[in-house]
Amino acid sequence: MKQRPVADVSHLPTYDFGAASPMWWGTLAFIALEATGFALGIGTYFYLAVLATHWPIGAPAPDLLPGTAILIILLASLIPNHLVELWARRQDLAKVRIGIVVMSIAGILPLIVRVWEFPALRITWDQNAYGSIVWFLLGLHTSHLLTDVGDTIVLAVLMFTQQGKAGRRFSDVSDNAFYWDFVVVSWVVLYLVIYWFPRM
């Protein structure tokens, strides 16, 4: 088939931020499907709670301390998260390097606290359905934390190499910050369900 050139795209950039980037849409789609997983887990929690005569079944409400500590750490991490996002958009490599190291630490801290959080549920997964679902929800969130922390650390290492100087890396840092927001928001919802619903 013959061709007729009608437009020149040679001066378009090769990367951009937010909704302009295909990777941002991929991240959003993953967030949507993972949020559906969380929603179904929470739905299961309430379904079981409605069936039970007493909730929580055979256990006191979970100890507030570790979960609340994680909530505070995660909420506080939103500040450096948004700063690193801003610096990535400005393509300020020096600040992005600092920011992404801070975010790696901000990701590791809640994982450390979580070691105490599982026992603070005051029930094991195999005691009854209540124990199963709270361990399931906490496990699901922990796997998200682990994945994103892993991703952030790899990205942090990358930013200190020659490859980190490529412009597209800034877009990757920005998408990573976007995903972290999801990890934090999902914990706010799970925290209310796991810790405060049994106290209502």
Partner: protein
């Protein structure tokens, strides 16, 4: 449009522009550069590392059809056993495995993957780009799918085939009654295939949103692509439900959680809610792409644009939404509150409205056109006839009193085979006849095609229509035999003989493909005179799909301008690059680097597969398996100094 017209020869030397661009480059050199940048290495290594959407789409299609053969043969074995009362060819235990493997394979390993497979092949060509948005994720999804399918069939070969039906109800599959490892293999196969399906859904959404040809505004997207986009969204919100439920099932079995154990505060019906929250949309995940095929094939063979584009697109979206409000109609016999059942009756009947709108639009399209009765159109007409019958029995079983009468009988078997074979497999076979020339460069035989159609169509109706009667007479599903006094023997014999006709029809289909691959008539770029962009490139398309990316100014671009293709220029030809555009108006926005071949998607899939497989035996497999999985993913994503990183 953001670009400006005009060519500047010799930009290869332009200081401000990185890389070699297609601007002003003569056709032969442009193609040579592109062929080098987009090539897949020859031999086994190339086969393992390729990220070409056409090669991956093709192998997805072939694999899915191989699973169709396996599932079809298990159906034939069941019909052999049921042909006469009290036949002793197959015992109850093996029969249980056969119907479970049949249903599981058809739904998880054939129907959904084959629909995604066509999308992987066709969507980039139909929207005028060079690959899907995340090519390595695409390769990864195939390997995960293949591992899951092989795993469950190998387990079956060792007498560990799943045996509790394709929906694996608890407590039959729970730790108390689901002995051995049969339900575990089922649960993990589900996890594999859902990971794969979700990966494809994500890449389809990003591709359709961000990589459409300049000018392909939302109201110029081919209806087939719309159907795939809606399907991808349904997958995104439905498949997590079955992943959550199959994970809970394997946790109950492996580490003693109590999700489905009523004695410890769990609930058996929870499984059914979670499963059908996925399971009903699953039907539409199969059906929506099939109606997309119909809306793509029909205009070509009646020589006019489809009637009611907007109505059809809105119907597809409506079906996508409504598909999430129907799941309880699979559970009418479980004693749920009547008010809830009435709601689900109403919503089940409501889905007949958008389905009906589409059928009337297709009839209007045929009415206003000049039909050419080639094989693809025959399958479309066969679809309309069969699907209307399936739809009518669907409205019948949406009613609670009638459902309670025919629940778990052959009436339901007849209904869903009319909907799934009539509603999805007929359009799929039509799609194979329609796009085979594009994929292979050769035409399928029309003569064999007609035999294929009539044998499958007549054989199908003779096989499944009598099942309505059997069901009304009370014959239950999933029984391995029945007594002579039931009086079901003659109808069953008729059904079994008719199923052989379907088998011969399918044998002709595969024969046609094998013969035509060697001897079929050479197709040319656009053998059917169709209107969409995939027909603007060669058959089969080159590795880079289009030598310059098309620009769209019309909903039927090749009918609006049959001889000349408006294109953009300025993209790199020495590295893989596609065009990113805005979501609604498809205005060019970015030159997006596209991932090169890589072995890491395969190795990562093997690591993920190993972890899933190990977790059937010990929960620690997830912990230790995470190490190779992490290594795989890091190596996959770690940049390797690609030329596009210079920019």
């Amino acid at each position: 449009m953001s670009g400006t017209t005009g060519t500047a020869a010799g930009q290869e030397q332009d200081e401000g522009v990185k890389g070699v661009r297609d601007t002003g480059l003569e056709a032969a050199r442009r193609r040579a550069y592109l062929a080098h940048a987009w090539q897949t290495p020859k031999g086994l290594y190339g086969w393992l590392v390729t990220v070409d959407h056409k090669l991956i789409g093709r192998r997805y299609i072939v694999t899915a059809f191989l699973f169709l053969v396996l599932a079809g043969l298990s159906a034939l074995a069941m019909r052999f056993q049921l042909a006469t009362p009290e036949a002793g060819h197959i015992g109850p235990d093996f029969y249980n495995q056969l119907f479970t493997m049949h249903g599981t394979t058809m739904m998880f390993l054939f129907a959904v993957p084959v629909m995604e497979a066509f999308a992987i092949y066709l969507v980039p060509l139909m929207i005028g780009t060079r690959n899907v948005a995340f090519p390595r994720l695409n390769a990864f999804s195939y390997w995960v799918y293949l591992s899951g399918g092989l795993m469950i069939w190998i387990a079956f070969a060792f007498d560990t085939g799943a045996d509790a039906g394709w929906f694996s109800y608890v407590p039959l599959t729970g730790p108390e009654y689901g002995i051995g490892k049969r339900p575990d293999f089922w649960a993990q196969m589900v996890t594999y295939t859902e990971v794969s399906a979700l990966a494809v859904a994500v890449e389809i959404i990003a591709t359709v949103f961000k990589q459409r040809a300049p000018g392909m505004t939302l109201d110029r997207i081919p209806i087939y692509v719309w159907s795939i986009l809606v399907t991808a969204f349904v997958i995104l919100f439905a498949m997590p439900a079955v992943m959550v439920s199959s994970t809970m099932l394997i946790l109950d079995r492996l580490v003693g959680t109590k999700f489905f154990d009523p004695a410890a505060g769990g609930d058996a019906l929870l499984w059914q809610h979670l499963f059908w929250f996925f399971g009903h949309p699953e039907v539409y995940i199969i059906f929506i792409p099939a109606v997309g095929f119909v809306s793509a094939i029909l205009p070509t063979f009646v020589r006019r644009p489809v009637f009611g584009y907007l109505g059809i697109v809105l119907s597809l979206i409506a079906i996508g939404f409504l598909s999430f409000g129907l799941w309880v109609h699979h559970m009418f016999a479980t004693g749920l509150p009547q008010l809830g059942e009435s709601f689900f009756t109403a919503s089940s009947m409501m889905i007949a409205i958008p389905s009906g709108i589409q059928i009337f639009c297709w009839i209007a399209t045929i009415w206003g056109g000049r039909p050419i009765f080639a094989t693809p159109l025959l399958f479309v007409l066969g679809f309309i006839f069969t699907f209307v019958i399936g739809g009518l029995t669907g409205v019948m079983v949406a009613s609670v009193p009638l459902d309670l009468q025919v629940h778990d009988t052959y009436f339901v078997v007849a209904h869903f085979h009319y909907v799934l074979i009539g509603g999805a497999v007929f359009p799929l076979l039509g799609a194979v006849y329609y796009w085979f020339p594009k994929i292979t460069g050769r035409m399928l035989s029309e003569r064999l095609g007609r035999w294929n159609f009539w044998l499958v169509f007549v054989g199908f109706n003779f096989t499944f229509f009598p099942m309505h009667i059997l069901g009304l007479q009370g014959m239950p599903r999933r029984v391995y035999t029945y007594p002579p006094a039931s009086g079901w023997g003659e109808i069953n014999l008729f059904i079994s003989i008719s199923s052989l006709v379907v088998f011969i029809g399918f044998a002709l289909f595969f024969l046609n493909i094998l013969l035509s691959l060697r001897n079929g008539r050479i197709a040319g770029d656009n053998p059917w005179g169709a209107s969409t962009l995939e027909w603007a490139t060669t058959s089969p398309p080159p590795s880079y799909d289009f030598s310059r990316l098309p620009v769209v100014a019309h909903r039927e671009p090749l009918w609006a301008e049959p001889d000349i293709l408006p294109v953009v220029e300025g993209l790199r030809v020495d590295a893989r690059e596609v065009l990113g555009s805005t979501v609604a108006d498809a205005v060019p926005q970015l030159r997006v680097p596209s991932a090169d071949n890589s072995i890491w998607p395969l190795l990562s899939a093997l690591a993920v597969g190993g972890a899933f497989l190990g977790s059937i035996y010990t929960p620690w497999a997830v912990v230790w398996g995470a190490i190779p999985v992490s290594i795989g993913f890091i190596c996959w994503f770690w940049p390797k100094g690609e030329p596009e990183d210079e920019e």
